[in-house]
Symmetry: C2
Subunit: 340 residues, 2 copies
DNA sequence: CTGCTGTAGTAAACCGGGTTAGTAAGCCGG
DNA sequence: CCGGCTTACTAACCCGGTTTACTACAGCAG
C-alpha cells in the first residue's frame, strides 16, 4: 500500500481557488501590503487547507537560493563501537547547535566526519547547506579545502581554522592549576598526549601557572599510562595532583588508578577539562568548557557570514572551574620525611 | 568581499564543452551504456573540471523527487542549560544515526524537539527529508500527526509509534534483578517516576523477576528522593539494592546517597539502565541499551519504508548486563539482628 | 478627454538539474 | 534504393516554488 499520492502543489491550490500561482504564493507566504482583498485571501487559504497543501521546501530553497540549513561536521569515527567516551563532548555541541539552529529558524544537517573515510568537501558544500560548523576535525586537508572555496565556515575548538570559536584554554588551565595550588599541591602533572591546539594551549596555561608560582613543570607532562605507573611508585617526586587534558582522559585515569589501589582524591587529586556529563557523573572537579555557548556563538557567526558580513576570526569564551569531589589537599608526605 | 560568484551550472559546462545539457548530464552522472564516445566524454569532464562545476544537490533532489536525507527528531529541551545529564542517551543515538546514514549514503537532518515549543509536522515533512526517526518524544500529538500523514517514520524507544524499535526492557530488567538476587539481595527497589513505555516495561520485568523468586515488590517502587530517605532510615525493610530506570537516574541517586554517608556498593548496590557514557564514567553496573544498534536498525527500516516496502511494526533488540563496581553482596544485617 | 494613481491581479521567466521522445546521420542487408 | 538498425546527440518539458514585469480596470483631478 504505497501511499505515493503526489502531494498537492501550488498549482493545484491556485486552480482550486480560481487564481493564478502568483496570487496563491503571495497569499500563502503572507507577503504584506500586496493589495489582495480579504475575500481572495480566504479563498486561497481554504483551498490550501482543503487540499492539505504543504509547500515543498526543496523547491522553495532552490528558487530563492538559500537552503535555510547549516551543516554540522562532527568528528565521529564510524563503526568503532566503544568510542563513546571520547565523543562525549558531542553532547554539548549537539545541544548547542540544535538550540541555536532552532532559534535562528535554520535546519541542522549533521555530517559525520570519519578520518578513515572523510567526506569530500564537494559532498558537503553541494548547496544543501548554506554554511558549515566544523567540530573536532583534526585533519587539516578537509577543513582547509572547505575554507579555500570561500564557503561560509566556522571551526569550533581545535583544528585548521580561518574562523575559530574556542574556550579560553590557557585561562581554564590556569584555573585548574591555581585551584590545586591553593589546596596545597606542588607537584601537579599534566596528563595529555598533546595533539590538538586545545591540548597545547592547556599545557601552556598549566606551564605558565606553575612557573608563576615558582613550581617546576619539567617532566610532569605525560600520557596517563606512564603517569599512573609513576603515581603508583609513590616516589617523593610523584605528583600529588593531575590536571587532565579533558574529562574523558580523566575517565580513563581514575578507574585505572582506583583499581590499582589509589584513592581519589585522598591519594591523588584529579582535575578534568570540559565539565560535561562525564564530570557530572564522576563528580570530577573540572574546568567548564562552554561547548553549548561556543556552538551557539559559532552559529551566530555563521549566519552573519551567510548574510555576507565578515566576522571575527577568533572568539574566545571564558571558562569556569566546577569544584566537585575529585580534589582535596594532598596527604601528608607518606613515608618520606626527608624534607624539613 | 562577498564571494557570491554564482557557481557554474550544468548549462555552463554544456556550453563550454559544446554539447547539450542532456549529454552533459549523462556524462557527469555516468549513465552506463548510453553510447557517448570517449572523446565527447572527456571533453565534458574537462570542461566540468576546468569550471569547477559541482552539481546542485537541491535541484537534483527536486528533480527526481527524493531528497536523500532523513530527519532525526530528538527530544532536546532547548535553552535549559543543565539538562545534559538527562540527554545523555542522545550520544548513542547520534552516533548510531550518523553511522547508519553514512553507510546508506543518506544525509541526516537533526531536528530538536522542544516540548514547550514543538515543531509542526509540516515543518518537518516539507520534502527536505524522505523519512523520520523519532527518538524520545513523549507527546503523542506530534508523533501521531506524523504517522497519520503516512509519512515514513520509525520510533526509537518510547513514545507513540506505529513502528517501534526498542531494547528488550523486560528482559533487561530481569537481568538486573537476577544479578542482584545472585549477589544475595532480597529487598530490591525500582527507582522510577514511571512515565514512559520504557519505564513501565522495566518495572514489569523487575516485578516479574521478583515474583518468580518469591520476593515481594510491593512498596518498593519509588522516586529516587523518597527512596533515599528510606535508605538512610536503615530500617529493616530498607532495600539493600536499587534498580534505576536509567543511568541518569542513578547519577542523581548515587552522589546524593554518598553525600548522605551511604557507601555504594557496600551499603547499597545500584544498577542502572543504558550502560552509556555515564555508567562508564561512574563505573556503574548497568543494563546495556543498544542505542546505536537500535538507531541503525531504525534507519534500515526507514530506508525500506521509503523504498515502498512495509516493515515490521515492533523490533526488540536484546540487552546485556555490564557488571561494574556499583554492585556487591549486601552487608550483613547491621544492627537489626531480629530475624534469625 | 487626458493623465495619474491605486487596486487586483496575471503571464512568463527563473532556479538547476533530470528525463522523454525524438531526430539526423551512417551503415548494412537485400 | 528501401527499410531497419545503431550511434550520437538534442529540444523541450518536467520538478514546485519565487519573482519580475506587465495588463486591465476603476476612480478622480484637472
Amino acid at each position: 500500500m504505497a501511499v505515493r499520492q503526489t502531494r498537492p502543489t501550488l498549482r493545484d491550490v491556485a486552480e482550486a481557488a480560481g487564481v493564478s500561482k502568483t496570487t496563491a504564493v503571495f497569499v500563502l507566504n503572507e507577503r504584506p501590503n500586496f493589495s489582495i482583498p480579504q475575500e481572495t485571501r480566504t479563498r486561497v487559504q481554504n483551498a490550501a487547507k482543503r487540499l492539505g497543501y504543504r509547500r515543498n521546501g526543496l523547491a522553495a530553497a532552490l528558487s530563492h537560493g538559500r537552503t535555510g540549513s547549516i551543516g554540522l561536521v562532527v568528528n565521529a569515527p564510524l563503526g568503532h563501537g566503544e568510542t563513546e567516551l571520547g565523543a562525549s563532548y558531542l553532547l554539548g555541541v549537539i545541544l548547542g547547535a540544535t538550540q541555536a539552529a532552532s532559534a535562528a529558524r535554520l535546519r541542522l544537517t549533521t555530517i559525520g566526519y570519519d578520518g578513515d573515510n572523510p567526506p569530500t568537501p564537494d559532498e558537503v558544500t553541494d548547496n544543501r547547506v548554506d554554511g558549515l560548523i566544523v567540530v573536532g576535525v583534526m585533519e587539516e586537508s578537509f577543513t582547509r579545502a572547505v575554507y579555500d572555496t570561500g564557503f561560509p565556515c566556522v571551526t569550533v575548538g581545535s583544528g585548521y581554522a580561518l574562523r575559530r570559536v574556542t574556550a579560553d584554554n590557557v585561562g581554564g588551565a590556569t584555573q585548574a592549576v591555581e585551584h590545586l595550588i591553593a589546596l596545597g599541591h606542588r607537584r601537579i602533572a599534566y596528563a595529555s598526549p598533546g595533539l590538538t591546539e586545545a591540548d597545547i594551549e592547556r599545557r601552556q596555561g598549566w606551564q605558565e601557572a606553575m612557573r608563576r608560582h615558582g613550581l617546576p613543570s619539567d617532566g610532569l607532562e605525560q600520557d596517563w599510562e606512564p603517569l599512573l605507573e609513576r603515581l603508583l611508585a609513590r616516589g617523593p617526586d610523584a605528583p600529588t595532583a593531575v590536571f587532565c587534558r579533558n574529562d574523558s582522559y580523566a575517565a580513563l585515569l581514575i578507574p585505572a588508578a582506583r583499581k590499582a589501589g589509589l584513592r581519589v582524591p585522598e591519594d591523588v587529586s584529579v582535575v578534568g577539562f570540559d565539565s560535561g556529563i562525564i564530570a557530572q557523573a564522576m563528580e570530577l572537579t573540572s574546568v567548564r568548557n562552554p561547548l553549548p555557548e561556543l556552538t551557539v556563538r559559532a552559529v551566530e557567526m555563521l549566519t552573519g557570514l551567510i548574510a555576507g558580513k565578515e566576522t571575527e576570526t577568533l572568539v574566545t569564551l571564558p571558562t569556569e572551574l566546577n569544584v566537585r569531589r575529585s580534589t582535596a589537599p594532598p596527604a601528608a608526605p607518606a613515608l618520606g620525611p626527608k624534607e624539613s
